[in-house]
Chain length 133, copies 4
DNA sequence: GTGGTCTAGACCACA
DNA sequence: GTGGTCTAGACCACT
């Protein structure tokens, strides 16, 4: 399991992790009982502070999404079943709504905006949103 | 000219202004030479501090998008044609790319994501993205 | 007589005028009794506010360098004889001293700095110093 | 690392900092990855407001010359090689070009101007340029 | 510890 | 009228 982290992005690192776990859990790509990479492993891999990863995990634990298994690290909580389509939509909508407002301000037609989105869906490269210059 | 400001959003106010001017300039809705509302006017209208508005304008000036007409106010730079102000697509793509990655992590199909985006384009309500809790 | 005015520069317009008249008078390029261009002419030629030109002339009058001849406009005061070389140097030194400090911070040798200055002396084009981005 | 700040000069403090960092980066005296003194440290050392320092750093970040290491401080951007930071000559030329035009207006010969510049290079004392009266 | 953001208010300078 | 600059102090967020 790899997190997709952009240290220079505007969204704080701990939040990038939290949001990603939420989404992976909602989609079922992370199954109940599945182990998460250790704090140290994540920290080392992305050259970030272990405290940052730990903070993210702690938040997810407080939320009930993760469980601490002694000596084993964190695993996805058994109760964390994949979400219904509606719930998934709720996690995605804010981002899309923001993009939609931007498209309007840019004077793009709905068709143009959708074409651009389609391109992004097919090409998963490119950077994170809201980066500071 | 009115800015669309959400004081409670996670994105700082000054940045909301900066981003909006960029998009309005790129779309041509703000023509080169056009006057921007005065710092004091914007501040009063949205009940925010003049310095916050001033900060946004200063950044845009440093960026070359705005020019100071001394003692008169700020105008959109003559050189800031919609083309020069940056591709519309370039201003929108980061947000869409981020949303696309989220959709993948949620296990949504491209069609599902597109449908949700379509809904957002037609319903301009809803909140700003990336709000902190 | 033409003033060399850069409306976008950091130094205020009125001060650009004041300093220029001082230098032209010190050098003798503007002789005692010589007429200065009218406020309206300068304002129109450079698309600046007549009040700005007027302010500059008033300051120079208060300084004794200009005299108001009724119906004739401003003329250089009879008492304004060309300055000695030492005085001219005094008007130029601050600018050169600032440039010298910059050269040091840039790690340029004296020879390199002088070569660059020599180039500037021979090519009178290029922009004003201290422009805001 | 110490900044050279003149609180009484006409050039605003934040701009003195910005310009100095630019020059130190261009000269290589500040290497990519090097840490800058903290906002609070600079503020305390020169008895100025932290926001003033912060403003300078923010501008330099927007410019791409500095990068924020969250929670740690600012470092010179990795991409900011002396070359990329802008030609040394480009940073010095505007000041020299302005001085050259002044010299012409003063009726000084190139040799006289050069001699005066030479003196300034050897005597690093003297005041900042463009002080308002 | 770090920087970011905003406020409130002051004073200046320019046109 | 306009924006620019700085201060003092608050609170937040990240590491």
């Amino acid at each position: 399991m790899n997190f997709d982290i952009a240290p220079a992005a505007a969204t704080p690192i701990y939040r990038q992790i939290v949001d990603q776990v939420r989404r992976l859990a909602a989609s079922g790509q992370l199954a109940p009982g599945a182990e998460l990479p250790s704090v140290r492993a994540v920290a080392q891999q992305h050259a970030i502070n272990p405290m940052t990863v730990s903070k993210a995990y702690s938040l997810l634990e407080a939320e009930g999404l993760l469980q601490r298994r002694r000596g084993l690290g964190m695993v996805l909580a058994e109760a964390a079943t994949p979400a219904a389509a509606g719930d998934k939509a709720a996690l995605l909508r804010p981002a899309l709504a923001g993009a939609a407002r931007m498209a309007k301000q840019l004077g793009l037609s709905d068709a143009e905006a959708q074409a651009l989105f389609q391109a992004c869906l097919q090409d998963p490269s490119s950077k994170a949103p809201y980066e500071h210059d």
